[in-house]
Subunit: 409 residues, 2 copies
């Protein structure tokens, strides 16, 4: 990694100068004025203040309460800003002007880093889709007929995307008890998480434009972690025939740091072999594919319960973006698309309680001796991840975390 | 209706002083500066210019390129602005200052009148859902088990909501021919419309808040017409298990005039009798219900092909709003929710080509002798509507129209 003048930054920090993720923060002295920050080690660089101090012209992209103006500026600007920031934290000559712009991480509050335009959620883990199919539709093929031909996805609620740390109130709603003729109304009884990876769109497209597989990096600015909170009982009663609605729309949490796609070059990897030939627009066999070697850890109340690997995903984010726009649907700055639950082939790689407890039939036993089929009030669910960086470095994603609060009558 | 000083406004105009719908327009002399306009007869009142000329303090809510600031201001402000506008067009003493703010309708260009936050589409016509069920799932009950217990809905793509008049390019995508093992790629072969009614949310809610049935008018600013363009072949291949995605996301057209909910008091009517008891949170039997007597006309290339009645909808917009927020999902200013296809019990009341041609098996014959199973390139599809106003007056909705352009290779 490039040498930095920050003396207390450990060599193996997942937030070294190879990463430099973007977020938005406030400090106690200006609690209502979010600013763009760049994480390095356990500090946050006030990006606009630093650009101004250094005399960098990109200050106009950075001096905003969200990342949206930077996102909209496109890949040439993203690269230029990243190069500038790298210089700021590595050029010892700049230290006197840059150092005053660093704020300790424990003195900032982190906010939703971008205004979400449309939110799309995919369903691209073969292991997850197979597990769900086995549980929900035991009498048919676990994978629907379309699954190996396209990345299945649906639109979620952009207005309830919240930043990590936001408490999640257990939703009320309709659900039908097994064996019951009709539904009843009450608090969700099968509250779940889904560990996912999210992709943040910067460069928009015009209505009618299609994005080819090769253009992911022209449109996607960066990557975050996503917890797609799910009310399984509400979802299973409502989802035929138009898909999940209230079972998902109460909250979707995202990690506060957006890792630039450029920081993930060393993490690129081949996706799993596809056993069904894809139509040409989705066929990435002639491309350098966009599989990504991200290692996720899911913890419940601080205890790791799963370690899914993003490299196991059947469809890549490039395929998802291409599919999402093949009908001419336009992209907007701030669009977020998530991978779908990341589950691996092994039991300890499952990315949801539904799978970990096999629909509640095999509850998890936590170190405190309690059992969990689904999430209980007070539970705190956290997803972290890292990816290989250049050399032996690691690229950290931080965490997406949230605590379950009781339902409100 | 209150008497207006506009001399050339016909007594029976559907855009008389009982209506006063809001939109956003530009004129040739300022083509890049949309302004809020209020339609009266065949004129558009430049709202901010008029407020300024009259010395009305609401100018700050009106002097914007979209309706969003007015939407966000809430029902007391909506009523105050409506009362002020009514005075402007009825008080002869104001004529000298108001008249210069009127622009002929044929000299304006109309724009999307609000920034769409989340877009939700319901499925609340029993006749439509039954027809679709019979065609798509002939071996099971036409209505899913949940249908009479909740208004089924899903999130659509907010970024492709376009204003009436925007051409619609036939989408490309995956579809599977009947009898085929796998999908092929190409232009949609079963392009359809869906005639719907849309509700525009003004007042937001906090995360966790539920909106009761009685509070529709506290949150919904007004009503428009919606054409939920649908690619039936793409949709039927993709929609299991997570619902419609690319089959709907290429375009959704809305009419340019938002009719204030306050203009529809005389159109309120009882919804059809429900034959399954609703859970208390959806039971509107103790309320003045929000069924609405809107009469729609669907025309294909100028020829009326259907006359659905919104009064036939099984669920009201109040029930849809209550259901959409029962899980604590927050509302944002600019949220749009649509009713779902409006179809009646009779053949000539069906709100989609899918139903009118019975999935293509009974093509429509147009006056020019051509047949239509689905929409062809060059076809222009228009939905208009009116509702009863006070006395014998009519409240017009104008139209949502769009022409189909050929697919782009």
């Amino acid at each position: 990694m490039p040498a930095t003048w920050l003396e207390d930054l450990p060599e193996d920090s997942p937030f070294g100068p190879d990463n430099l993720p973007y977020g938005c923060f406030t400090t106690d002295d200006a609690p209502t004025s979010p600013r763009v920050g760049i994480r390095i080690g356990d500090r946050v660089l006030d990006a606009a203040a630093c650009a101004r101090a250094v005399g960098d012209p990109h200050v106009e992209l950075l001096d905003h309460p969200t990342l949206n103006p930077l996102l909209a500026a496109g890949p040439a600007a993203w690269r230029a800003v990243r190069a500038a920031v790298t210089t700021w934290v590595t050029d010892p000559g700049l230290r006197p002007v840059v150092q005053p712009c660093l704020v300790p991480l424990d003195r900032v509050r982190l906010h939703l880093p971008f205004e979400v335009a449309d939110y799309v959620d995919f369903y691209s883990s073969e292991h997850h889709a197979t597990n769900v199919g086995r549980m929900f539709r035991p009498d048919s093929d676990p994978l629907p007929a379309n699954w190996k031909h396209l990345p299945i996805g649906y639109h979620g609620r952009a207005g309830t995307v919240v930043v990590s740390g936001t408490p999640v109130v257990r939703p009320m709603g309709q659900r039908r008890a097994p064996g019951s003729a009709g539904p009843s109304y009450g608090a969700c009884l099968r509250l779940d998480f889904e560990a996912e990876v999210g992709f943040v769109v910067g460069t928009p497209t015009a209505l009618g434009e299609r994005v080819p597989l090769s253009a992911l990096a022209e449109h996607v600015f960066g990557v975050c972690l996503v917890n797609d909170w799910s009310a399984r009982d509400i979802q299973s009663w409502e989802y035929v025939p138009l898909g999940p609605f209230l079972g998902k729309s109460f909250a979707t949490s995202v990690s506060p740091w957006i890792v630039p796609l450029d920081a993930l070059q060393a993490a690129r990897t081949a996706p799993p072999a596809r056993d069904v030939e894809l139509l040409p627009y989705l066929d990435d066999s002639g491309e350098q594919p966009w599989g990504l070697d991200l290692r996720l850890t899911v913890s419940l109340n601080g205890h790791p319960i799963s370690r899914p690997r993003f490299a196991d995903m059947y469809y890549t984010p490039a395929q998802q973006l291409t599919h999402m726009t093949v009908n001419g649907a336009r992209l907007r700055t701030g669009d977020l698309f998530a991978s779908g639950t990341v589950s691996g082939p092994d039991r300890e790689q499952r990315g949801s309680m539904l799978e970990l407890s096999w629909s509640g039939r095999e509850p998890l036993v936590l170190p405190d001796g309690t059992e969990r089929a689904f999430l209980e009030d007070g539970d705190e669910l956290t997803v972290t991840a890292w990816a290989p960086g250049p050399g032996s470095s690691r690229i950290g994603f931080g965490e997406v975390t949230g605590r379950v609060l009781p339902a409100r009558d």
